[in-house]
Symmetry: C2
Subunit: 108 residues, 2 copies
Protein backbone atom coordinates (compact mmCIF):
# COMPACT_ATOMS: atom_id res chain seq x y z
CA UNK A 1 0.00 0.00 0.00
CA UNK A 2 1.39 3.33 -1.03
CA UNK A 3 1.47 5.90 1.71
CA UNK A 4 -0.04 9.30 1.30
CA UNK A 5 0.77 12.11 3.72
CA UNK A 6 -2.89 12.16 4.63
CA UNK A 7 -2.98 8.55 5.59
CA UNK A 8 0.21 8.80 7.59
CA UNK A 9 -0.98 11.86 9.40
CA UNK A 10 -4.31 10.38 10.31
CA UNK A 11 -3.01 7.01 11.20
CA UNK A 12 -0.55 8.43 13.66
CA UNK A 13 -3.43 9.43 15.87
CA UNK A 14 -5.92 6.76 14.96
CA UNK A 15 -5.42 4.65 18.01
CA UNK A 16 -6.30 5.31 21.59
CA UNK A 17 -2.82 5.12 23.05
CA UNK A 18 -1.38 7.69 20.71
CA UNK A 19 -4.49 9.80 20.83
CA UNK A 20 -4.25 9.91 24.60
CA UNK A 21 -0.57 10.74 24.53
CA UNK A 22 -1.17 13.57 22.10
CA UNK A 23 -4.07 14.89 24.16
CA UNK A 24 -1.95 14.96 27.27
CA UNK A 25 0.92 16.64 25.50
CA UNK A 26 -1.44 19.33 24.30
CA UNK A 27 -1.48 20.46 27.90
CA UNK A 28 2.30 20.67 28.00
CA UNK A 29 5.55 18.69 27.73
CA UNK A 30 5.90 15.48 29.72
CA UNK A 31 8.49 12.83 30.40
CA UNK A 32 7.83 9.20 29.56
CA UNK A 33 7.33 8.40 33.20
CA UNK A 34 4.87 11.23 33.64
CA UNK A 35 2.91 10.04 30.64
CA UNK A 36 2.85 6.52 32.01
CA UNK A 37 1.62 7.65 35.39
CA UNK A 38 -1.08 9.93 34.07
CA UNK A 39 -2.33 7.51 31.45
CA UNK A 40 -1.88 4.34 33.43
CA UNK A 41 -0.04 2.72 30.54
CA UNK A 42 3.03 0.58 30.67
CA UNK A 43 6.37 2.21 29.97
CA UNK A 44 7.32 0.23 26.89
CA UNK A 45 3.87 0.78 25.45
CA UNK A 46 4.30 4.51 25.83
CA UNK A 47 7.84 4.49 24.46
CA UNK A 48 6.90 2.45 21.41
CA UNK A 49 4.04 4.74 20.61
CA UNK A 50 6.09 7.86 21.25
CA UNK A 51 8.57 6.61 18.76
CA UNK A 52 5.84 6.29 16.20
CA UNK A 53 4.60 9.79 16.93
CA UNK A 54 8.13 11.12 16.80
CA UNK A 55 8.82 9.56 13.43
CA UNK A 56 5.63 11.10 12.11
CA UNK A 57 6.69 14.51 13.34
CA UNK A 58 4.02 14.79 15.97
CA UNK A 59 6.36 15.03 18.91
CA UNK A 60 9.99 15.62 19.69
CA UNK A 61 11.88 14.57 22.78
CA UNK A 62 14.95 15.87 24.52
CA UNK A 63 16.79 14.58 27.51
CA UNK A 64 16.50 16.52 30.73
CA UNK A 65 18.58 14.80 33.34
CA UNK A 66 17.79 11.15 33.26
CA UNK A 67 14.40 11.60 31.70
CA UNK A 68 13.38 12.40 28.20
CA UNK A 69 10.78 15.08 27.87
CA UNK A 70 8.43 15.02 24.91
CA UNK A 71 6.46 17.89 23.44
CA UNK A 72 4.19 18.34 20.48
CA UNK A 73 5.79 20.02 17.53
CA UNK A 74 4.44 23.52 16.86
CA UNK A 75 3.18 22.48 13.44
CA UNK A 76 1.09 19.69 14.83
CA UNK A 77 -0.30 21.90 17.56
CA UNK A 78 -1.65 24.17 14.87
CA UNK A 79 -3.18 21.32 12.96
CA UNK A 80 -4.76 19.87 16.05
CA UNK A 81 -6.22 23.17 17.07
CA UNK A 82 -7.73 23.58 13.64
CA UNK A 83 -9.25 20.14 13.80
CA UNK A 84 -10.45 20.78 17.28
CA UNK A 85 -12.38 23.86 16.34
CA UNK A 86 -14.22 21.95 13.67
CA UNK A 87 -14.65 18.80 15.66
CA UNK A 88 -16.65 20.69 18.23
CA UNK A 89 -19.54 20.99 15.81
CA UNK A 90 -18.98 17.58 14.38
CA UNK A 91 -18.83 15.70 17.61
CA UNK A 92 -22.40 14.44 17.64
CA UNK A 93 -22.10 12.66 14.38
CA UNK A 94 -19.11 10.69 15.53
CA UNK A 95 -20.50 9.73 18.86
CA UNK A 96 -23.21 7.67 17.29
CA UNK A 97 -20.83 5.86 15.02
CA UNK A 98 -20.04 2.28 15.85
CA UNK A 99 -18.89 1.61 12.33
CA UNK A 100 -15.24 1.07 12.78
CA UNK A 101 -15.79 -1.36 15.57
CA UNK A 102 -18.75 -3.24 14.17
CA UNK A 103 -18.84 -3.27 10.42
CA UNK A 104 -17.04 -5.76 8.27
CA UNK A 105 -17.27 -8.28 11.00
CA UNK A 106 -20.12 -10.46 12.05
CA UNK A 107 -20.48 -12.00 15.49
CA UNK A 108 -16.96 -13.33 15.95
Amino acid sequence: MKETPYKLFFRAVSNKTRCDIVSLLMKGPKSVTQLCRKLGFEQSRVSHNLKCLEMCGFVSGKYEGKSRVYSLTPEVMQVLNAIDRHLVKYHEHLKSCGALENHMKAKR
Copy 2:
Protein backbone atom coordinates in the same frame (compact mmCIF):
# COMPACT_ATOMS: atom_id res chain seq x y z
CA MET B 1 -10.84 0.21 24.04
CA LYS B 2 -13.00 3.23 24.63
CA GLU B 3 -13.62 5.33 21.59
CA THR B 4 -12.97 9.03 21.55
CA PRO B 5 -14.39 11.25 18.82
CA TYR B 6 -10.83 12.05 17.84
CA LYS B 7 -9.87 8.48 17.37
CA LEU B 8 -13.01 7.72 15.39
CA PHE B 9 -12.54 10.71 13.19
CA PHE B 10 -8.94 9.96 12.43
CA ARG B 11 -9.40 6.29 12.01
CA ALA B 12 -12.07 6.78 9.41
CA VAL B 13 -9.47 8.15 7.05
CA SER B 14 -6.43 6.28 8.27
CA ASN B 15 -6.36 3.74 5.51
CA LYS B 16 -5.58 4.13 1.88
CA THR B 17 -8.88 2.94 0.47
CA ARG B 18 -10.96 5.38 2.48
CA CYS B 19 -8.42 8.14 2.05
CA ASP B 20 -8.58 7.70 -1.69
CA ILE B 21 -12.36 7.63 -1.69
CA VAL B 22 -12.50 10.82 0.33
CA SER B 23 -9.94 12.52 -1.89
CA LEU B 24 -11.93 11.67 -4.97
CA LEU B 25 -15.16 12.83 -3.41
CA MET B 26 -13.53 16.15 -2.59
CA LYS B 27 -13.67 16.78 -6.32
CA GLY B 28 -17.39 16.07 -6.42
CA PRO B 29 -20.08 13.41 -5.86
CA LYS B 30 -19.61 9.99 -7.42
CA SER B 31 -21.51 6.75 -7.72
CA VAL B 32 -20.05 3.51 -6.43
CA THR B 33 -19.30 2.37 -9.94
CA GLN B 34 -17.56 5.63 -10.75
CA LEU B 35 -15.45 5.34 -7.63
CA CYS B 36 -14.52 1.78 -8.54
CA ARG B 37 -13.51 2.75 -12.03
CA LYS B 38 -11.46 5.75 -11.07
CA LEU B 39 -9.73 4.05 -8.16
CA GLY B 40 -9.40 0.62 -9.70
CA PHE B 41 -10.86 -1.01 -6.62
CA GLU B 42 -13.34 -3.82 -6.45
CA GLN B 43 -16.98 -2.95 -5.94
CA SER B 44 -17.47 -4.66 -2.62
CA ARG B 45 -14.31 -3.13 -1.30
CA VAL B 46 -15.58 0.30 -2.15
CA SER B 47 -19.04 -0.37 -0.74
CA HIS B 48 -17.72 -1.72 2.54
CA ASN B 49 -15.51 1.26 3.00
CA LEU B 50 -18.22 3.69 1.97
CA LYS B 51 -20.40 2.22 4.63
CA CYS B 52 -17.75 2.90 7.19
CA LEU B 53 -17.35 6.46 5.99
CA GLU B 54 -21.08 6.93 5.98
CA MET B 55 -21.49 5.72 9.52
CA CYS B 56 -18.79 8.10 10.62
CA GLY B 57 -20.57 10.98 8.98
CA PHE B 58 -17.98 11.54 6.30
CA VAL B 59 -20.23 10.84 3.37
CA SER B 60 -23.87 10.45 2.53
CA GLY B 61 -25.40 8.61 -0.37
CA LYS B 62 -28.63 8.90 -2.26
CA TYR B 63 -30.04 6.83 -5.04
CA GLU B 64 -30.15 8.37 -8.49
CA GLY B 65 -31.69 5.88 -10.81
CA LYS B 66 -30.09 2.55 -10.23
CA SER B 67 -26.91 3.99 -8.84
CA ARG B 68 -26.21 5.45 -5.48
CA VAL B 69 -24.31 8.71 -5.51
CA TYR B 70 -22.09 9.57 -2.58
CA SER B 71 -20.89 12.99 -1.49
CA LEU B 72 -18.86 14.34 1.35
CA THR B 73 -20.88 15.97 4.09
CA PRO B 74 -20.39 19.73 4.29
CA GLU B 75 -19.00 19.49 7.82
CA VAL B 76 -16.29 17.10 6.79
CA MET B 77 -15.40 19.19 3.79
CA GLN B 78 -14.68 22.07 6.13
CA VAL B 79 -12.57 19.92 8.39
CA LEU B 80 -10.62 18.49 5.49
CA ASN B 81 -9.97 21.88 4.03
CA ALA B 82 -8.67 23.07 7.37
CA ILE B 83 -6.37 20.09 7.65
CA ASP B 84 -5.30 20.55 4.09
CA ARG B 85 -4.17 24.10 4.59
CA HIS B 86 -1.97 23.02 7.45
CA LEU B 87 -0.78 19.83 5.88
CA VAL B 88 0.77 21.79 3.06
CA LYS B 89 3.46 23.06 5.38
CA TYR B 90 3.70 19.83 7.25
CA HIS B 91 4.02 17.58 4.29
CA GLU B 92 7.79 17.19 4.34
CA HIS B 93 7.88 15.80 7.80
CA LEU B 94 5.43 13.08 6.95
CA LYS B 95 7.05 12.05 3.75
CA SER B 96 10.15 10.93 5.52
CA CYS B 97 8.22 8.92 8.03
CA GLY B 98 8.35 5.17 7.72
CA ALA B 99 7.30 4.72 11.30
CA LEU B 100 3.89 3.27 10.94
CA GLU B 101 5.08 0.72 8.48
CA ASN B 102 8.36 -0.24 10.05
CA HIS B 103 8.38 0.25 13.76
CA MET B 104 7.16 -2.30 16.23
CA LYS B 105 7.99 -5.00 13.83
CA ALA B 106 11.26 -6.64 12.99
CA LYS B 107 12.02 -8.42 9.74
CA ARG B 108 8.89 -10.54 9.37
